[in-house]
Amino acid sequence: MTVHGVVIGVLVGLGVAGELLCCLGLVVMRDVYDRLHYAMASTAVPPFLIAAAVLVEEGWTQPGINALVVAIVLFVLNPILAHATARAARSRRG
């Protein structure tokens, strides 16, 4: 296996492990706000690790740039969702 393959394997592995850790945290936590924390953590680092792996494989071509845009969209838009969900949880609590 080349260095190139090892770098891609490590980046994909870390990204997937991060996502699975967030899924585990979602189940383990008891409060909606704690669960929201894990749901938002899943959009912070793992998408960029996977986008970095695609960029290492493809370079600055259409798939690489697309993967990076997906990571940026997830990173920028999901805090808005977290805010809306937390507001809904608060209003339901009364």
């Binding site: 996502e19 979602l26 909606v32 749901a39 899943s42 808005i80 969702l81």
Partner: protein
């Protein structure tokens, strides 16, 4: 099977706890599970696109990232106001 497809398969396993929580927990907890499931599915599509070496498939996760945002935001607003 390459590293991308192994990663996509592992990520699909992450949808199981999200689905279980969406079925068993309260509506607001199910909404959080839906958010995480949307992120996991988006990244799975990125990995599948790369794994099958189809650059044109990469538009799909981008569309899902936007649509998942809009859909979940609408449900959050609805839950906050009416339910």
């Amino acid at each position: 099977m390459n590293v991308w497809l192994w990663g996509a398969t592992a990520l699909l396993v992450g949808l199981v706890p999200c689905g279980a929580l969406a079925v068993r927990a309260s509506r607001i907890d199910a909404l959080v599970a839906l958010q995480l499931a949307g992120t996991v599915t988006t990244l799975t599509l990125v990995l599948l696109s790369e794994g099958f070496n189809r650059a044109s498939y990469m538009g799909l996760p981008l569309a899902l990232a936007f649509l998942s945002f809009v859909g979940t935001l609408l449900i959050a607003r609805f839950l906050g106001r009416h339910v």
